[in-house]
């Protein structure tokens, strides 16, 4: 649940609670007020009845008791007088109760005053009732309107809260979206502040900006560092290799020296390849490459086959390419080419004579998967997982230029958000799966 929905929900719940509490207070006080009111009225009536008492009245009341006759058709009130035996103490306290009474077939709730009194040495019990139906109907009405008000208030607050929080949180979501979600590297970062008058968001925006500035500076420093290292290392190699080349060109060179010079050139070349590989990895990790080319995997594989054809023929390898999907991704064409050629070149290099290389593809939920299977010398189970570790450059004792090729593959894959899986069995072969996310 996002922040906005949480705010709206919280507001709705608190409002419901407030309305419920207020409503029950109103209902409760309504009841107290009305019963107090009724009680006062009943007391007044009792006084009236008792003041006007005479024999006739008593007789008529007692006689009427049998039929419970009321003197108003709405049965709002009733009066019951019964004679009670003249024994014991007389309880003259007046008390009230709320009770159901059946009057002429209708059951209704009444507020009833109970009283006992003596008149001309006879004891009587008096019950005066006043209906509470009116009260109840008022309560029902109040309850009903309260419910309506509650629902309407709820709806209105939900909508307004949602709209309001939406308005308030808009800059926040914009910051999250534009400054965090959509940013992969500091070179494509927009430092312009997102307009907002909420201080907290301004602080957030500025902190992200300053963080990004720091990262951008680091990236720039790293770029300069790479350029410097590159210059410092490659210039001497350049001098040496030119010098050796010039020496080789002289006609009167003794054969033994010539061989040594050539061997030195080869060694120098090895150094150059290693440095260039490391620099390539650093430059990829430093995100110096653009990712703006449309790369068709099928086309790349065809190009690579052309480049490697002679090696495949030389090793009499059965090369099968069943790539079918017309998948393309946007990235750096040169790098993807390097990635694929490194993997395929490995599967040629470590293959047996007359072995097989099978390249196939399929699409599997949101992924385009390219798999390269060879029948090469393979690796032990742990070295296959080690190969992954070497991807991470944890272990850099490169035997046979193996680690760097995979390290290059790994850094290019990471740069393009590709996932590479490797499965290998000693003397059986290796299977490499490259997963390309489908955007």
């Amino acid at each position: 649940m996002n922040l906005q929905a949480k705010f709206a929900l919280y507001n709705a719940i608190t409002k419901i609670a407030i309305i419920l509490v207020l409503g029950s207070i109103i209902l409760l006080s309504l009841e107290t007020i009305s019963s107090n009111h009724l009680d006062a009225r009943l007391k007044k009536k009792r006084l009236k009845v008792i003041e006007n008492l005479n024999d006739n009245e008593i007789n008529s009341l007692i006689k009427n008791n049998h039929s419970f006759t009321d003197y108003n058709i709405l049965k709002e009130e009733f009066i019951v007088l019964t004679a009670i035996p003249n024994t014991g103490n007389i309880d003259t306290t007046i008390f009230f109760k709320t009770d159901r009474r059946e009057i002429e077939g209708d059951i209704e709730i009444y507020r009833i005053l109970n009283d006992q009194f003596e008149f001309r040495n006879k004891r009587y019990k008096l019950e005066l009732g006043e209906t509470m139906t009116a009260m109840d109907s008022i309560k029902t009405t109040v309850r009903f309107y309260m419910l309506i008000v509650l629902v309407i208030a709820l709806l209105i607050t939900l909508i307004t809260d949602y709209a309001f929080t939406n308005l308030i949180l808009k800059p926040f979501y914009k910051i999250i979206d534009q400054k965090i979600n959509k940013v992969n590297d500091p070179t494509h970062y927009n430092y312009a502040n997102i307009p907002t008058n909420t201080n907290d968001f301004r602080i957030l925006d500025n902190s992200i900006n300053s963080l990004m500035r720091k990262i951008a500076n680091l990236f720039l420093l790293e770029k300069q560092f790479i350029a410097n290292v590159s210059h410092e290392l490659l210039t001497p190699i350049s001098i040496l290799s030119s010098r050796l080349e010039n020496m080789l060109a002289s006609e009167d060179l003794p054969l033994a020296h010539e061989n040594k010079i050539f061997a030195s050139l080869k060694t120098l070349n090895r150094l150059k390849v290693i440095i260039n590989s490391l620099l390539l990895i650093s430059k990829v990790e430093n995100e110096q490459y653009l990712k703006t080319d449309d790369i068709y995997i099928k086309q790349e594989l065809d190009d690579i086959y052309e480049d490697l054809e002679d090696r495949i023929i030389d090793k009499e390898i059965i090369y099968t390419n069943t790539v079918n999907e017309n998948f393309f991704l946007t990235g750096n064409k040169g790098l993807i080419h390097t990635l694929l050629i490194n993997i395929i070149n490995n599967s040629i290099k470590y293959n047996i004579k007359g072995g097989k290389i099978t390249i196939s593809d399929h699409i599997n939920q949101k992924m385009y998967v390219l798999s390269i299977i060879d029948t090469g010398i393979g690796m032990e189970k742990d070295s296959a997982s080690d190969a992954f570790k070497r991807f991470e450059r944890k272990n850099n004792n490169t035997e046979e230029g193996f680690g760097l090729g995979l390290a290059i593959v790994n850094s290019i894959a990471k740069f393009h958000q590709l996932n590479i899986k490797i499965q290998s069995e000693k003397d059986k072969g290796t299977e490499i799966e490259i997963e390309f996310p489908i955007s």
């Binding site: 350029a227 590159s230 350049s238 001098i239 030119s242 010098r243 050139l265 080419h337 046979e400």
Partner: protein, 225 residues
Amino acid sequence: MNVLIVEDEKALALEMNEFLSKEGYIVEHAWKKSSAEEKIFVNNYDFILLDLGLPDGDGFEVLKQLKNIKNRDDAVIILTARGAVDDRIKGLEEGADDYLPKPFSLNELMARMHAIIRRKHKLEKNEVKIHDFVLDIQNRTVSFNEERIPLTKKEFEIFNYLVLNKNRVVSRMSLTEHVWGDILEVNSDSNFVDVHVKNLRKKLTQCTLTDWFETVRSIGYRINY
């Protein structure tokens, strides 16, 4: 042809000088940006080999200065060890003719210079004659007595590279790098290139004697002309 080498690394400039002088180029040096700018202002050059990291400024500024002078047709090849990815794009955008990252093989430099000469001077016929063979650079074909020899792409590339560097030993390594440049391999001294050369030579020998196509011991090959 005259060449200006703009390079602060004197040892490297001297080696390039030695190599180019042997080829009959007249070579001048500039060690700094300021002296390079003076020189290009005074003289025309066929080639300016421009290093980017100069002690008193960026080689790009020299390039800019040159492009500001009217009616100049000096070919510029950027030679740099800086290795920033965008340098290449920037260099070509600013009007350099080629970009060669250091360390480069002098043979490769020669090949690039030849390619520029052909492009710049729009040689009437984009053809190179070598003994009785004719290389059509544009269409990438080789013919003997007007009859086409069926060469593979790689074989043509090798032949062309050797012809561009004729009378010079071209090492196997340099050939491999030229033909399969983008495969970064530590042990690039493979015999793949030998297989191609063998096939190439077989095809050429079917037409005529090719004793001018030399294998230079363990090092590489040379075409004498």
